[in-house]
């Protein structure tokens, strides 16, 4: 109980500690913006790029706060703006959620290395669900074919192109482990990434400056960078989105697995766990003693990858 309270304090403290400097910075910024706004508006009208409504929305979007600093009203407003913008810019009908984390929920994941057969259905489902860039073939999940006895995925082969499973090999999946003590969060200079109370490590894409410090800090290769504008075919776009999840990313921002925040906060399984035909992926609430994930932790042989680093991942491997 105590640790939870402390955590709550820490959550607000770490972002509020430089309140005065941020405020003065914003003040300066708004002055600069006011000076530049006249030029921008007239320039836009002459160029004829986009409607006035679209420009107004973009303008408001540009000056919104970090998601954690927003009030509930502001969150609703930005979500509404992004839905409208998607309609105006891409003619896409999306439903964006800003569903808050549920109380008494801490998400955890377990991966059965003796059941996974390397089919990679999970990888494909993840790409579809999270609107990942088809152009650069971005994937959150990696599956490696490993020699038995090996535990280091750097020794595994991800580009296997033959019928699976193969005898005397096993398959190991790597994705974001949503560490409780995540080094990526500490590395971020703009506080654009943080851990939500339900344990999901998320990114505010609008606050990411693309420095990739988090990518360098992550010992699990869990983060992906958008080197170009992400491309998703219109007919394959997943319209059910979350502000912190699978919404449209920009060029030059970081993204990562969010445990499918748009699904899991609605009680659904993540896309990878639902797609797995072998039942190797177990997902659930770590704080519920009756959950499947807790059964696995209690009754199976489990280990965490690179546990000795002290990042406290919420992702366990287990075997039968």
């Amino acid at each position: 109980m105590d640790s939870r309270k402390k955590e709550g304090q820490m959550k607000t403290n770490d972002i509020l500690e430089k309140k005065s400097t941020r405020r003065s910075f914003m003040k300066k910024l708004s002055i600069a913006a006011a000076a530049g706004s006249a030029g921008l508006v007239t320039g836009g009208c002459v160029g004829g790029s986009g409607s006035t409504e679209e420009m107004g929305l973009k303008w408001e979007e540009y000056f919104k706060k970090n998601y954690r600093m927003m009030t509930d009203k502001e969150k609703d407003e930005t979500v509404a703006r992004l839905e409208k913008l998607a309609k105006l810019q891409d003619d896409a009908n999306i439903q964006m959620s800003n569903q808050e984390p549920r109380e008494k929920v801490l998400f955890g994941y377990a991966f059965n290395i003796s059941r996974c057969k390397g089919y990679m259905d999970c990888v494909e489902a993840c790409v579809q669900e999270n609107n990942l860039d088809r152009n650069s073939k971005t994937q959150y999940i990696r599956i490696f074919e490993m020699d038995s006895g090996q535990q280091d995925p750097t020794s595994g082969d991800g580009k296997y192109h033959h019928e699976v499973p193969v005898e005397n090999k096993y398959y190991m999946g790597i994705q974001c482990f949503h560490c409780e003590n995540a080094p990526c969060i500490k590395a971020c200079p703009t506080k654009a990434t943080w851990r939500e109370p339900d344990g999901i490590v998320v990114v505010d894409y609008d606050w990411c400056i693309g420095c990739r410090y988090c990518m360098a800090a992550c010992p699990f290769w869990g983060r992906r960078f958008n080197w170009g504008e992400p491309e998703v075919p219109k007919e394959e776009l997943n319209p059910k989105q979350h502000y912190l999840g699978n919404r449209k990313r920009m060029k030059g921002v970081m993204e990562k697995c969010t445990f499918c925040v748009q699904r899991t906060r609605q009680g659904k399984l993540p896309a990878c766990a639902e797609a797995c035909p072998t039942g190797s992926r177990v997902f659930g609430n770590l704080l519920d003693p009756d959950s499947e994930i807790r059964y696995v932790l209690k009754h199976k042989k489990v280990f965490r990858f690179k546990e000795e680093l002290g990042t406290d991942p919420k992702f366990w491997y287990f075997m039968d």
Binding site: Q139, P153, G279, E292, D320
Partner: protein
């Protein structure tokens, strides 16, 4: 002089682990650690509180086993058997030879159990009433509750399945627990998973 060095050395030896310990404290206090939080969480979560997890997209039936002291549901089987009920064909009526191919399930390949231990139809299907399965003691078992039959040999898998380490939940982690039946994933006649080509490939870790 030497003594001073020795003393300061000793002092350092005592001090360094202490400093490391102190430095470690804030890290531990701030997160609490996942394992610690898990150990302290004893109160069951009311997963029915998540109202969006109510709709079940599949046909289910209440299982005849208990899970964590409560009930759960399994996916039905009878709905996916194309020619159920079996007793429509399996009657005392004589069958013509020319209809044999249609009636003898020649599409089913048996590959359950190795070598001499390979199973035959009647070891799982009830001999007298084809609408049911039957276990080794002759007890009739409904097709929707085939886990009762499978579990008599595969008891380890059944134990894990009841707990949640084998098989999988359907669609939701919250709401009423709905898990796949044995036969939702395994063909009962040839239960091992087939080999197939992977859907895609993974890039090396440094890319």
């Amino acid at each position: 002089m030497k003594k001073i060095f020795l003393r300061s050395g000793l002092f350092c030896l005592c001090f360094v682990p202490g400093a490391v310990f102190l430095a470690g404290l804030p890290a531990m206090a701030s997160g609490g650690g996942v394992m610690e939080r898990i150990h302290h969480a004893e109160e069951p979560y009311d997963s029915m509180a998540i109202e969006t997890a109510y709709q079940q997209p599949v046909k289910t039936v209440r299982a005849k086993e208990s899970w964590q002291g409560g009930t759960f549901r399994v996916l039905t089987r009878k709905d996916s058997i194309t020619r159920f009920r079996c007793s429509v064909c399996h009657t005392d009526k004589k069958v013509l030879v020319k209809d044999g191919a249609l009636f003898t399930h020649d599409d089913i390949v048996m590959n359950h159990g190795k070598g001499e231990n390979g199973l035959v139809c009647i070891q799982c299907h009830d001999e007298d009433n084809r609408d049911f399965l039957s276990d080794s003691s002759g007890k009739k078992i409904d097709f929707d509750h085939s886990y009762q039959l499978c579990g008599q040999c595969h008891f380890r898998q059944k134990r894990d399945w009841l707990g949640g380490a084998h098989g999988k939940r359907d669609a939701y982690w919250a709401g009423e627990r709905v898990v796949r039946n044995c036969t939702s994933c395994h063909s009962p006649h040839s239960p091992a998973f087939k080999t197939k080509m992977p859907e895609t490939y993974s890039l090396p870790l440094d890319q």
